[in-house]
Symmetry: C2
Subunit: 346 residues, 2 copies
DNA sequence: TTGAAAGCGGTACCAT
DNA sequence: ATGGTACCGCTTTCAA
C-alpha cells in the first residue's frame, strides 16, 4: 500500500493524505480522522526511501565500529551503550545503523556514508588522543556526537564524558586515606583518551598526597578478566607488593580478585580494590544494596541514552554551539576496601 | 555531487554514467574508465535513498532487539555476534540496522519495517519455544534468518544453530565418566530454546548413565557472574552437594568458581566445571594453549559471520528452500575437570 | 555504444 | 481546506 493507493481509496488527493498523516494544521479534523483510521486499517507506512529522497532526511544515524586486532571497541561495554542509544533513537523515529568495518577503511566509511546521504549524524565511540575522526567529520560538515573526549582536538565539538580523571583521583585518594601507600593501577588501553585521563587522576592523587608513583604498579591493556588476573599476579609477586588496586573495569576486577585469592589473601581485608563500574547489565556489581566492590560508578547505558538525545538535538540544531556535558561518577562503598594493614609499612 | 552533475562534467548522459558505474557490459571500455576515474576523483557515491527508491532494494538488514525486564538479549554475547554479522554485511554492501524496541512493540516493529520497505531481511536473535516472530515473518513474506531454532514452529525456515543438546550431553557425560554422580546444572533462562535443549542434553546423559536427576541440582536464569555465584553457593551448601557443575556461560562460570573457592574448595581438584564457551572476545577462556575451563566451545562470532552470509543468500535466493545448518561444539579440555573424589560416595 | 524519458513514492510549493 | 504538479536522484526500458 502506497500513498497513491491510500489516497484513491479515500477519494482524496495524495497531498491531503500526506498532510493529514504528517500533522499539518490546514487539514480539517474530519478528514484527518478518516485518513488516520484508513492508514491504520491498511497498515500504511510511508516508504523510507521515498521519504528520504523527498525530504533529504534519512532518519538514520550511524555508529562505525572499526574492526581490528585491537578489540577494545567491540567490548562488553558496547552492548550496554548501544542498548541505551538504541532506545532513544527508536523513540525519536531514527534508525541506528551499525557499521563494522576493517580499521583501514574506517575513515573512508565516514566519507562514503556522507556522500551517499544515508545518514544524518554519527556517534563516535572510544575517542583516542588526537583522534582523526573529529577533524574529518568537522570537514565533512556532518553532525556528530562523541562519547568521551579527544585531547588534542581543540575545535568545539559535541561530547558527553564522565569525569574520569576526577573519578579515579577520588578513588585513589580514598585508598590513600585508608592508609594505602602502594596502589596498583590496572588501566584500560592507554591509546584511549579516557584511560589517559584515569591515569592522570591516579597520578594526581599520589602527587597531592606526596606519595611517589611507581611504574611497576601501573599497567594498561584490554579490559578483560585474564588481563586483571595476570597484571595483579605480577604486582602481588613484587618484593614490595601493592596493598590496594584501582581498576578500570569490573571485568579486570574479577581477574584481580582471583589473583588476590590465589595468593591466599582476601579482598576487603588484606587487599583493597576500587574499580570503575560502568553498571553493565550482565556484569552487576553485586546487588544495589550490597555492592561487591567499592566503585566509581557511572552507567554507560544512561550515557548511551543521553548521547543519543544530544546527537538528535545536534542534528536538529546544527547552528547552535555544540553541547558538552561532563558527568561525575558516583563513589559507591562496597565490600572491597578496608583500612591498610600496618604490618608492611611500619 | 549527484549523478546529473557527474554526467554533465563528463559530457555524457546519466544513463551511460550509471551503466558504467554499475558494470553494465554495453559501455565501451574507454568511457567506463573515464567515468570510473571521474567518480573517484569527485568521491561520487550514489544516493542511498534514490537508489533504494529506484531499485526497490534498501541494501539493509535489521536486527530487532526487544528491550525488557528480561535482558537476556542485550547481553555480552550480543556484541560478539553482531561483530560477526556486521563484518559480513559490510563486505557485501549491506547496512545493519539495529532497532532497540520496547518488548510490547516488538512484533509491530517487524510489520512497520516491512511496510516502510526499509529492510530486505531480518536476523532473529534468541528464539524461544513457539516464538511468535517466525510465523509473523512467514506471513509477511520477508526473508529472515534465525540464530538458533524454535521448537514448536514446524514450517521450514532458515537457521543456524549449535547442537546444544549434544554439546551438553557430551559435557555431562564426560563428567560422569570422570566418576561424578552429582552434577549441578547452571543454565541460561529456559524461555530460550537453546537453554531447553541444553537441559535436555544434561538429562539425557544422566538417563543413559542410569543416574537419576535431582531438581535441586538444576537451575536457570540470566547468565551473569552473580547468578553463577549464588546458584553454586546454594548447591554447595546442600546436604549432598554436587562434585561438578555444567554451566551455560563463561560468565556464570566465573561466579561458580568464586563460590567454590569461598567454600575452601578448589576448581579442578575438589570440584569440576565444564562450561559452554561462546569464545567471547572480552571473556577468553584462558589462553588457547591453556584453557582455564574445560568447555564445550563454539564461537558466537563465527556464527554471526555465517548467519549473515546465509541471510544474504536467503535474500538473493528466496525461491530456494531454506538453508539449515547445525554446528557441533568442540570439547576443550582445560584445567577445571578432574576425576571425582571417592570420599563422598563410597 | 549512447541518450531520452518514464517511473520509484513521497513532500511541498503554488493554485484554487 | 483541498488538489495539481514539480521535484528529490537514481535505474531501466525503449529508441536511435
Amino acid at each position: 500500500m502506497n500513498l497513491k493507493e491510500l489516497a484513491d481509496a479515500l477519494e482524496l488527493s495524495q497531498t491531503t493524505v500526506s498532510r493529514a498523516l504528517n500533522g499539518y494544521p490546514e487539514v480539517s479534523e474530519g478528514t484527518r480522522l478518516r485518513v488516520l483510521s484508513a492508514a491504520r486499517s491498511f497498515n500504511y507506512r510511508p516508504s523510507a526511501g521515498a521519504r528520504n529522497l523527498a525530504t533529504g532526511r534519512s532518519m538514520a544515524v550511524r555508529h562505525i565500529i572499526p574492526l581490528s586486532a585491537n578489540h577494545e571497541m567491540m567490548n562488553i561495554i558496547f552492548s550496554d551503550f548501544i542498548a541505551g542509544t538504541g532506545e532513544i533513537y527508536a523513540e525519536h523515529g531514527y534508525d541506528m545503523i551499525v557499521s563494522v568495518v576493517p580499521e583501514a577503511q574506517e575513515l573512508q566509511s565516514y566519507r562514503d556514508a556522507v556522500a551517499r546521504g544515508s545518514v544524518e549524524g554519527f556517534m563516535i565511540h572510544g575517542p583516542r588522543r588526537n583522534d582523526p575522526r573529529l577533524p574529518l567529520l568537522q570537514e565533512l560538515g556532518v553532525p556528530f556526537f562523541v562519547h568521551g573526549r579527544s585531547t588534542g582536538y581543540d575545535e568545539p565539538y559535541a561530547w558527553l564524558d564522565v569525569n574520569n580523571r576526577r573519578a579515579i583521583e577520588r578513588a585513589t585518594n580514598y585508598l590513600i586515606e585508608l592508609g594505602h601507600q602502594r596502589i596498583g593501577l590496572i588501566n584500560g588501553g592507554e591509546q584511549m583518551d579516557f584511560a589517559q585521563r584515569r591515569r592522570e587522576g591516579y597520578v594526581t592523587a599520589h602527587v597531592k598526597a606526596g606519595i611517589s608513583t611507581d611504574t611497576t604498579l601501573m599497567t594498561s591493556g584490554d579490559m578483560t578478566e585474564p588481563q586483571g588476573h595476570i597484571a595483579a599476579l605480577v604486582m602481588l609477586d613484587l618484593p614490595d607488593p601493592p596493598t590496594a588496586f584501582v581498576a578500570s573495569s569490573i571485568l579486570s576486577t574479577l581477574g584481580i580478585r582471583r589473583a588476590v585469592e590465589s595468593r591466599g589473601l582476601m579482598v576487603g581485608r588484606d587487599i583493597s580494590i576500587i574499580c570503575f563500574d560502568d553498571d553493565i547489565t550482565t556484569l552487576p556489581n553485586g546487588s544495589p544494596a550490597e555492592p561487591t566492590f567499592t566503585a566509581s560508578r557511572s552507567s554507560v547505558r544512561a550515557a548511551g541514552r543521553r548521547c543519543a538525545e544530544l546527537l538528535i538535538d545536534r542534528i536538529n540544531n546544527q547552528h547552535l554551539p555544540p553541547h558538552q556535558e561532563l558527568w561525575e561518577a558516583e563513589l559507591i562503598l562496597g565490600g572491597s576496601t578496608a583500612v591498610a594493614k600496618k604490618d608492611k609499612t611500619t
